[in-house]
């Protein structure tokens, strides 16, 4: 009975990992808007990402169960521990947050010097430029942002710091050079029905194989 249970659990875990394997969902980038609001926090609107693309990506949001991890890059100045939020709402950040439409990605941006506009990528540069592992999203943030992208066709991103802070994310570097932000998502797929059936069949077969010697032992006794 113990071996049977162990086999079943192992099959279940394997099934989940096989059907929900992480994959590169896509990269979205846009010019920063630098529109700011200050109430109980200072929030700087980056912009809305609707299209995700990139080499080897599968940016079909209907096939994604959730976003699992991300890289993000912003051009930012004067920042200390500024949080990146994603969700829905291009004005009134705090209302959107209160209404459960904004999710904290967990990323925190800080400038290494306070005199420059720096392009900062967290947790590092995404592939193929870098090899740092992506930053894991919480389940609520990953599912929430995936659902907003699927249902509303675009994700709004904000940088959020203390009300007393004065960080900015300028929209342009010169009159001809825009300042852009980037979000790179990894996602897990929606489990396919065929995979579930295949997994269950494998689990059942394993269980039967383990059970057969026990019956034979009983018969011999």
């Amino acid at each position: 009975m113990l071996r049977l249970t162990a086999c079943f659990l192992f099959s279940l875990v394997s099934l989940v990992s096989v059907t929900r394997a992480d994959y590169y969902f896509g990269t979205g980038a846009a010019q920063q808007t630098n529109f700011s609001e200050t109430n109980t926090v200072r929030a700087v609107y980056l912009g809305r990402l609707s299209a995700f693309a990139g080499t080897g990506s599968n940016p079909n949001v209907a096939e994604a169960a959730k976003f699992t991890s991300l890289y993000a890059g912003v051009a930012i100045r004067g920042a200390t521990n500024v949080a990146l939020y994603g969700g829905r709402g291009d004005v009134n950040f705090e209302n959107s947050l209160a209404n459960g439409k904004m999710y904290d990605t967990g990323l925190r941006f800080s400038n290494t010097n306070q005199t420059s506009v720096q392009s900062i990528f967290l947790p590092g540069l995404p592939p193929p430029s870098g090899s740092t592992a992506p930053f894991a999203l919480s389940n609520s943030a990953g599912i929430g942002m995936r659902d907003i992208l699927a249902n509303q066709g675009g994700l709004d991103f904000w940088l959020v710091g203390d009300a007393a802070s004065s960080f900015t994310a300028p929209s342009q570097i010169t009159s001809t050079q825009a300042a852009n932000f980037l979000v790179y998502f990894n996602a897990s797929a929606v489990p396919e029905p065929s995979s579930i059936l295949l997994g269950l069949a494998a689990a059942s077969f394993g269980a039967l194989k383990l059970r057969r010697p026990k019956i034979a032992l009983k018969a011999n006794a």
Binding site: T55, G73, G78, S116, V117, S119, P170, T174, N180
Partner: protein
């Protein structure tokens, strides 16, 4: 003969006034430097250091100033909130925001947000703004106080903090293989001051001119005397 002498005198007078006019007219001193980017905060305001400019040797006074700079401004930078140019002694720790204390000159030159606001780092060229005689002489004493004639230029706002004169900015783009490529832009600023020329220079030029005239007159008389004696 007489008409010839008057002719020479007339030409010499024109030369004198031309030379005097150019020497006593205002001179423009210009200095271009990389922006500093340092910011300091006090209360609800902030000061952003544009840079250290080389303006020496000092003139007796200055009458006008203008500034070209790369600046990032929020959408509410208007009127009294708009960052204004303050000229301070080289490397002096930044004084109070009232900027009346110490060796500083708070000018009326300011930078307001564009309409609609750009939300980016923009190159802005101010117009010439007049300095009062008191500001002009204070500025001269500030410049004279440094052996190399350096002064620090700041942009100061008493009520907004999210403006800046960054020293540089990085941006990125994808190459054809989706690699991220970084580029850097270094920002520069130019300060121009219109100076009142030193009295010594004006006196020297006038003296030389009248001296030249006197010599010319003496030579003419000598020639005339020789002709008479001959």
């Amino acid at each position: 003969m007489v008409s010839s002498r008057f002719h020479v005198l007339f030409l010499a007078s024109i030369c004198v006034f031309a030379v005097l006019g150019s020497s006593s007219g205002a001179a423009v001193i210009s200095s271009t430097v990389n922006q500093d980017g340092y910011k300091t905060f006090a209360g609800t305001g902030a000061a952003s250091k544009v840079g250290t400019f080389q303006m020496g040797p000092a003139a007796p006074s200055y009458t006008q100033a203008r500034l070209r700079t790369w600046i990032e401004l929020p959408s509410n930078a208007f009127g009294a909130a708009a960052p204004k140019l303050v000229l301070a002694a080289y490397n002096a720790s930044f004084p109070e925001f009232s900027l009346i204390f110490g060796p500083t000159v708070s000018t009326s030159l300011n930078f307001e947000s564009e309409v609609p606001p750009s939300f980016g780092v923009d190159e802005r060229q101010s117009g010439w703004v007049s300095l009062t005689p008191s500001e002009g002489t204070t500025l001269a004493s500030i410049i004279a106080s440094d052996s190399q004639g350096r002064i620090d230029a700041w942009l100061v706002s008493p009520t907004i903090q999210d403006f800046a004169n960054p020293d540089l900015a990085e941006y990125w783009y994808f190459d054809s293989n989706y690699n991220i490529i970084f580029e850097t832009i270094v920002y520069t600023a130019t300060l121009e001051l219109e100076a009142v020329p030193e009295p010594t220079s004006a006196i020297a030029v006038s003296g030389l001119t009248f001296g030249f005239l006197a010599l010319r007159r003496a030579r003419s008389r000598r020639l005339l005397r020789r002709q008479i004696h001959a």
